[in-house]
Amino acid sequence: MLINRPPQDSTYDLVVVGTGFGSLFYLKRYQELYPGARILVLERGKYHTREWQLEQGQNSEIGYTDTYQMPEGQKRWSTTIALGGGTLCWWGITPRMSPEDFKMRSNFGVGVDWPITYDELVPYYRQAEQIMMISGPNDLEGRFPGTAPYPARPHHLSTPDELLKAASPNTHFAVPSARLREPVGSRGACCSTSRCHLCPMDAKFNALNAMMDVLGAENTFVLTDAEVTHLDIQNDVVKSVTYSHDGQDFSASGDLVVLGANAIQSPYLLQKSGDTHPVLGRYLHEKLSAIFEVHLDGVDAFDGGQASTGLNYGLYDSADRSQYGAATFYTENHWGTGLRTEYGRWRQILPLFVVIEDIPQEHNGVTVGDGSAPFVDHPDWSDYAYRGLDKVKENLPDVLSGLPVESVSMAYQLVTASHVQGTMRMGEDPETSIVDKDLIHHRVRNLTCVGTSVWSSCGVANPSLTAAALSLRAANTAFASQEDPS
């Protein structure tokens, strides 16, 4: 175990900031290409073992609201700052983004296009799905072209899912997920807990159970409790990374620096480092999400094989995205909102987790504030997203026509889906974006920015798989000769 092995000098081939999806998948591909490279990985949080997390009931001792400031009354944002970052707290759901999500301006006249296409990302999606050992169905090809057979068979659908699948085979699918269906090595099989951030079986992919070979590789030095305070950028080159550890300040230099803190901390670090680009920190966004409840007549739920069993695109396909946000929903296999109260009909209820895309707005974002922590200002989702929510209420009964539905109602809107996106957006134009299609900073060419901060449009997909695929592509494109990694 090389965690916290003291760095022996201050010069490296690569310095990586953060250890979430973006950083780890970049690091993995980079190590494959340069096995002997000297690498320093700086993580602000601690190395919390799985046992510690289960015992404490949390993924990090750093509370997410302790790492930023915001105006009173606004929504909170949740991130995990610890070795492994978002791989610890995520729930393991891995849909791809749809091809049209990358072309919002071209297809719908709203938002912006990404500078890459879905097709360019396909080989890297495949690779990320293999690395994470995704359990998924083999009927998603029509929706996600280029989907290879998933490494593992899908988890069981629930009875309501089976009815929806029979009625709408092209819009309802088993959820692809990074939760093992069969045990592999020390990792157990998913037991359909509803506490995936603290997976009791260690079935869910995370840094600690699947990426320790990357973090422990020879010549890779991982330092936790190492808070990067700024990057020394001179003449459009990152000369060094300054960090504090054990109460002292240190400096490390690398031929290349990969910035993958999170979509709040990463832009803040660049801002503190003197990057005054007007778009830096802007367009912070996430999906609008809500829990709906469907009362069923005579059909019991909760007999699927994982926490969320079905993924439905009925609302997505019918959306007029020039006017309002598209939506998808997951059928939930746990009773977070409660069972029914009518005697004997306890399980005749289907909770839905509904997500609606937003249009990133320039006025939402991260600034330096008083310099002690990022200041996050996001007054609300856009009208575009709320119109999408109205359409969900209107159209959901039709989409659920394959079920014996008694009633459909919205239980509550969630404060956050814990998907923080878009503060260092990717684009072709250096005037309106921070990084190019290869995730390289437009101006500072030895700086690569990874993770969900580079999102150009919101989409409806959970972002972790795409963050991983983007990083694999970025490392491959920068250092391999454009070969298809698959």
Partner: protein
Amino acid sequence: MIRLNRRQMMGLGAAAAVGGVLTGAWGLHRTSQRLAGELLLDAFPGLQIEEADLRQFEQDFMQAYWLTQMERISLRGISAAVGLLGAGGVSWIPGVRGRLDHMRRAVITVFLTNSDYFTLENPTVDTVYYLGVDKNRPCGNPFARFD
């Protein structure tokens, strides 16, 4: 005859007031705790459950599960009112009916998912054992299919 000076009188008065408040709070707490059990028995007519299990359920429900501190405080007021007027007598008060419905749903869910109810052949006849709330119970869905 005991003579008290003004300071002693004030001290005794304050002590009595504090005692009254504590007694009242304890009474409200007991009442609200019992409310969980009453809602449970109301939701499951004829439920066979041991007295100790019922008390443990009431205690667990109020202490650990689903209720925030503010909800508990609010519930105590509602519970006291139900004690005085009955559930029907307070349901006209704005917000109270919703709160009771919410609590009833929580009571049913917590009990069903933390007892052996779903494993019994005939839970309307057999004794149902409350197993206790254990947030660390790893796999709490008895209906999930894995094969």
